[in-house]
Point group: C2
Amino acid sequence: MFRTKNCGELRSRNTGENVTLAGWVKRSRNMGGMTFIDLRDRYGVTQLAFNMEVNADLCEKARKTGREFVIQVSGEVMERSSKNKELPTGDIEIKVDAFTILSKAETPPFTIEDDTDGGEELRMKYRYLDLRRDPLQRNLALRHKLALETRKFLDDQNFLEIETPYLIKSTPEGARDFVVPSRMHENQFYALPQSPQIFKQLLMVSGYDRYFQIVRCFRDEDLRADRQPEFTQIDCEMSFVEREDVLQTFEQLARHLFRETIDVELPEFKRLPYAEAMEKYGSDKPDIRFDMPICNLTDEMKGADFKVFDSAAYIAGINAKGCAGYSRKDLDKLTDFVKRPQIGAKGLVWVKYNEDGSIKSAVDKFYAQDELRNRLAKTGAEPGDLILILSGNQKSMQKALGELRLEMGNRLNLRKSTDFAPLWVVDFPMFERDDETGQLHAMHHPFTAPAKKHESLLRSEPQNALANAYDMVINGVEVGGGSIRIHNRDTQEAVFDALNFTREEAQEQFGFLMDAFKYGAPPHGGIAFGFDRLAALTAGKDSIRDFIAFPKNNAGRDLMIDAPATVSAAQWEELHLKPLQNEK
Amino acid sequence: MFRTKNCGELRSRNTGENVTLAGWVKRSRNMGGMTFIDLRDRYGVTQLAFNMEVNADLCEKARKTGREFVIQVSGEVMERSSKNKELPTGDIEIKVDAFTILSKAETPPFTIEDDTDGGEELRMKYRYLDLRRDPLQRNLALRHKLALETRKFLDDQNFLEIETPYLIKSTPEGARDFVVPSRMHENQFYALPQSPQIFKQLLMVSGYDRYFQIVRCFRDEDLRADRQPEFTQIDCEMSFVEREDVLQTFEQLARHLFRETIDVELPEFKRLPYAEAMEKYGSDKPDIRFDMPICNLTDEMKGADFKVFDSAAYIAGINAKGCAGYSRKDLDKLTDFVKRPQIGAKGLVWVKYNEDGSIKSAVDKFYAQDELRNRLAKTGAEPGDLILILSGNQKSMQKALGELRLEMGNRLNLRKSTDFAPLWVVDFPMFERDDETGQLHAMHHPFTAPAKKHESLLRSEPQNALANAYDMVINGVEVGGGSIRIHNRDTQEAVFDALNFTREEAQEQFGFLMDAFKYGAPPHGGIAFGFDRLAALTAGKDSIRDFIAFPKNNAGRDLMIDAPATVSAAQWEELHLKPLQNEK
């Protein structure tokens, strides 16, 4: 070993010990006759002291040692005269008497500090330097801890971690697959899994009873800001269970993880039906750290000769408590917010409940003050409040109000990253209809069982059937989702029928699963958690990228290793491929 | 839950309890007025009893229930009149009073028993049924336990599990890569990693100090019997360490795993230099559960006018203790064995030390008995022993004697699957020379550091430089291998030079690693274990296939899901590809 202690463990109780440390030079300071170096490793920072009078050579050498040099030093642990209370090792320093440079360093392209001066692109290219920064080291340590505690908890609950293959078969269902050309089987391809869904169901058919896996998944999608082509799931499945068993088990998992990693006791997990979530929060993943529900005012607001409302299919508002003081400028900003194409409202109607009891609104000429007060009674508005109203198509205005609600939550600082408000959203529809084609699509995936009471609807009116599916939502983030699965051929065929799969298509793509159901399949269900997102959420962060050691950029590129890249002509040939355009 | 207890937990202390069980019908037996069903789940087997006199309907129903049906039953736990001592639940049975068929089953294509009647191909196609068999369930449970204990141990030792990317860049070094065409970047490819080698070294440069990962790796090789295109590694790396630190750490890991999973205390790990391993055992992964070393007899056997020996560069033998009684037929079989093309000897010279003190050999006409006894003194042969001698080219005959030694070990039952004999093979050469091209190749990989005392040889006579590399070998299986790595550009460049890489090639392929070394790299080293093989070894088995839930066959096919497979014309087009031969 190049060290006897690490840079994070020495305390004043170690005073007088002779130690050897190794690490990176974080910074050095010359103070007259003394030179100090802060030596850094994963465990902490320790101050090294060099005295010009005691050992000039050593001190000179220390002065020539630049940032990020890797050095090894030996010396005695001394109590510091001026202690640094900010640092766990701040009571001591090392009086260095031997010094070796293990590796020199050029000046890094950006500073290795919590707040670095490096831009996004530069930090991605030199990811190995960015990863030296404390925030990233903390993130990856948290991720490690989350994974380990997940495994401990699930092992305690009799789950077996079983690895499923990464080289599987492409299925057109769902998102686009990454594929892998086979050299041995000309013009055939493996596909990388979008999830181990079918394999975990087969493991239930095989009697493994409780399965989990922390597993990489792949989707070749056009990348949005916070999506990665490869991402990690905590994937779980249980046999002989009903919905409540799954919810209880994984609520306990979430509790365990928050307790063990960030010492937080999660409050009760509410159960919220999908329809109610959309109605009250305009979202299937509501942030319930704050209330501010959407209040349907369609009946209340009509009949005052205000054409916009009279012609609207749906009118609803939210009560922004204490915001009556908003200026014209504030309200214009909110109006701009809701008119952005992503939100899609035509305009915003605001109503101020002034502290003096008077009411001021954008629709004063259509509603008398008292009338407006009556019509808005169900919003619970009190003096000081601001009511924000949108109107139009119900589905899109619910979503718009949901976004406006989150925006107001941000403005009112009601979405603290250290508060955690979990819930289960349940009773999702089985299918959603494609507005263009009129086709039904599986809202979760085609293996989701219908709610018990809706099994008969599956053939008669599938569009109205509810699914036995559930999402775990924390702070407006969909942390996990799953369902009770279909475990017999008849129901599975009914779903494929509703999705307009021919028997042949169904058999070709999922034949082995349908076949498996012929040989005795247990009732089963499960869930999958987005592990990257769970790590970010636990740390109170929005972006997953800083919780992945080597992420890709929005174009799916790894800027550090420069992938994807060209391959040799020999590789093309071995794989029996040529480019569509003969550009090579 | 569909059950209150599982099929493995009821004992006589539960007598009188009302329980609900669910599981698979393992078998049923009609005994006059009684019908018995053995109900199976992952946890065990419980006997269900149906009495025709008590409830004829239920008993009739039970009689119609076939093998592998999934059923749910309720009833009272009763003490059995005739107990089954073979079964943990053998003291009790369930007097069933309610019975539900959860899922019917067709007759499986092979029997779900420890010794099944299904052939290899059929069992691969119906892997989900094969996985129901006890031996496979035990294997996957053992694998789960090994993974969990690996993580617990390494976490205790301050290792962080950090996930590295699966979509990386193809490098011509080593085996053939699987590649993934990019849709967004025309005619560019990702590659699937053969190992996370470079990423783990970068993590050391990033200061993560101790890294591990249980990770999938991919190699597009022509498959031999027991190779898989995707396999799992326990991949580890440590900073500020020397060889001894790595060996100590992972010897402890191996001890921990054997103790926790199969309750075995591993004996001392010997250190054996590569040269000595080849000399004594004809293998770089010797099975030292038994001794029987190769004895060099080149000097001793020459000069008796036996042309075969006189013209041989190398003559050596092994002493098969107690085999003097071998018949002519036995010896012919051994001769056939060494003459097989994989072994490659031209013939076998045997010398019997008979119990009566006489000597009988295949070379009686060249050596008198006493002379032969003298010449063979160093084999330590005693009455009752059999000496087996090969001659020819040293390298190939050492290997052949190594194989013969293992064969004799098998015949003498000296290789018990419940004995474990671990060792470290050390001091490997840095390079081996390709016999055809005369080119040097890295024996481990190009990031391996030379042995300290051989650093200067790297430029002067690289072919003689030893590497700071090590393999963990248990029972003749290479369980893991690793090395201290190069951590500076100069040494790395010297290795690339020895390997005949141009600076440009080195920079293009490994530039980011060479660049990383510019910014302060710690001394580091690591190891990777073949996890599939470790699981098989722990269970005392040779084949890894039964320790992988969904393996591929020797042609790289998954027979169950039928992958690889064709993809749609649209997928070809999106990926900017067309077939080399226009067969589509």
